[in-house]
């Protein structure tokens, strides 16, 4: 028995084992980037066919980095690191007669290898005691529970989180979003305890749980709920614009002019298809537009599109009027999509990162000069 233990220790002490494990991890990782991981079953069957799909699935090749044998490889690698480091400790203590610089240099590899153990320990802590999930909160509402990733389970947070406002800002004259932002508030035992405007790259943290801005969307609107705010500017004679609030489908008469304005249609994401027909590219308010018709004594005299984000763009050949689309409401409530993460191991991982850089620095720049 003792002999067997010694043999096993011998295997873990060998640098050949280290290199074998490193090469195995690298090769398996290559496979993991060639076969797309954790996709939908239909896609796999489409790519590989039914038989091959079942085989790959059975072997864990469709979720390599979460498979038991990949985890085993990592554990073996860790064991190898720990055994090698412990074995060489007595040697380091006998190097007393060397100068200070050389002794610091000798520490380098230990710090480096130890840091890798720390990083993996940190990720293990996160896997065991942490969670990842998400929650969608409509503007003005609160949520107390979140959905966990990769399962249909919900998790009670023990406090509630409220979204007061969600906003997308765009670069000027561009369709590229500049920032997604949500005003969030934490309500714990009936009291509002914390407020923060979160953005991508700037999450909110409360009681060890982080809330990341990750997506957004719009709930489908209730019929007849949408209202637009328009400014009608008659061309010529320098007259000032007339502002009005108008519901979708509604017709309103402008006093003392004999003109009537109709809010004909609304699209949240205005675009043209190949045949130049107007379509909405998505349900998201990326390019909200309204079609407005203006009647003079019952006869159509203006028919054109106006854009919320391009107030100076005229979508109409008729130049009797200019219609500015100022704002709209009731077009379906926007919601913010938050990623919710608890990772108690993250500080352990950061510590490991620091030690890794320190260890490499010591190894490379305090080595004995040859």
């Amino acid at each position: 028995m003792n002999r067997l233990l010694k043999d096993i220790r011998g295997v873990f002490l060998s640098v050949k084992t280290t290199i074998f494990l490193l090469i195995s991890i690298a090769l398996v990782s290559i496979v993991g980037t060639i076969i797309p991981q954790q996709k939908e079953i239909d896609l796999y069957i489409n790519w590989y066919g039914e038989t091959l799909y079942h085989l790959l699935d059975l072997l864990g090749f469709l979720n390599i980095f979460g498979s038991w044998w990949f985890q085993l490889l990592l554990v073996l690698f860790m064991t190898n690191l720990v055994v090698c480091s412990l074995h060489r400790v007595p040697k380091v203590w006998t190097l007393r007669n060397q100068n200070r610089r050389e002794r610091i240099g000798r520490l380098g590899p230990y710090v480096t290898h130890f840091s890798l153990v720390i990083i993996l320990a940190g990720s293990l802590i996160g896997n065991i005691w942490g969670f990842k999930g998400y929650v969608n909160i409509p503007q003005g509402e609160s949520r107390e529970a979140i959905m966990l990733n990769g399962s249909s389970q919900t998790l009670d947070l023990g406090f509630s989180i409220r979204c007061d406002r969600f906003e997308v800002t765009y670069y000027p004259e561009s369709e590229m979003p500049k920032e997604y932002a949500s005003d969030l508030a934490i309500v714990d035992r009936g009291r509002e305890v914390f407020r923060k405007t979160i953005q991508v790259n700037d999450p909110l943290r409360y009681k060890g749980i982080s809330f990341y801005q990750s997506s957004y969307g719009v709930l489908p609107p209730q019929p007849g709920e949408r209202k637009a705010e328009l400014e009608i500017i008659p061309k010529g004679n320098g007259s000032r614009g007339y502002r009005l609030q108008i519901g979708e489908g509604e017709m309103k008469e402008i006093p003392k002019t004999g003109y009537s304005v109709q809010f004909a249609t609304f699209v949240p994401d205005f675009s043209l298809d190949k045949e130049n027909r107007i379509i909405s590219r998505s349900n998201q308010p990326n390019n909200p537009a309204v079609q407005v018709k203006i009647y003079q004594n019952g006869k159509l005299s203006f028919n054109g599109w106006s854009f919320l984000r391009y107030p100076d763009f005229h979508g109409s050949k008729d130049d009797t009027y200019r219609v500015k689309f100022l704002n709209y409401s009731g077009g379906g409530k926007p919601y913010t999509g938050l990623m919710v993460v608890k990772d108690p191991g993250v500080w352990v991982v950061w510590t490991g990162f620091g030690l890794l850089v320190l260890g490499l620095y010591l190894s490379f720049y305090f080595r004995r000069r040859s």
Binding site: L22, G32, Q37, Y171, Q199
Partner: protein, 273 residues
Amino acid sequence: MINHIFFQLTTFTYLLSSILYFFYLGIKKEGFGKAGSWIALFGFAINTGAMIIRYFESHRLGIGYVPLSNMYESMVFFAWSIVGLYLLFERFYHSRGLGAFVLPLGFLAMGVTMLSLSPEIRPLMPALQSSWLVYHVITSFLGYAAFAISFGVSLIYLVKKTDREGNSLLPDYKALEIINYKAIIVGFLLFTVGILTGAVWANYAWGTYWSWDPKETWSLITWIVYAILLHAKYTGRWGGRKMAYISIAGFVAVLFTYWGVNYLISGLHSYAS
């Protein structure tokens, strides 16, 4: 776009410098080597200036970012890092012969960029607006550049004839091994910092520091290749030629991490194309 014109000029200067270094090796006249170095330094200055101009041009467009955010910008920074690091090595090791193998890499990086990538300055999506991105790109690409130098040195090691009959302007085997090792430790340290700052950034942007997306996985594979090389070196079991082959394999992994993943495999980093 004034910056693009200056980058084109940079490309031309790196080509000129490469040719001068070739002549230096072939004709063995000191003057060609000196001219190659000075032209390389001149190109490096233009490259630096062009990046600064691009920074100001992005601000003038109302976008305003550090120009290290798309493929075009990373490539010109890659070329800058290769030439800058090479000039440092040349100063320290007093060997101009290496230039004939390294400057062409700087020229290739610039040439490919000028021919195939859009110089347009586009607004940054929200996830890319982070100072961690800047640290991540700077350290990663300085690391890549050091690996590029190791690649060039290893090529020389393999094509060189024996010390006695080979080109007298190229360093001897021993010196090449030392330069290769120095380039790799500089590269390994910087590349490690690059991976770690990338992980910190991912944690701020996506709530997870490691998600095994193809870019991350390939950076780990590259890291492992160089880790194996360093261990083989410390245990002293592999000779110079074998080390040269692994250095080249390491640089192939670098190139795959940098381009292969973007163009052949998609993932979180696919916006960087």
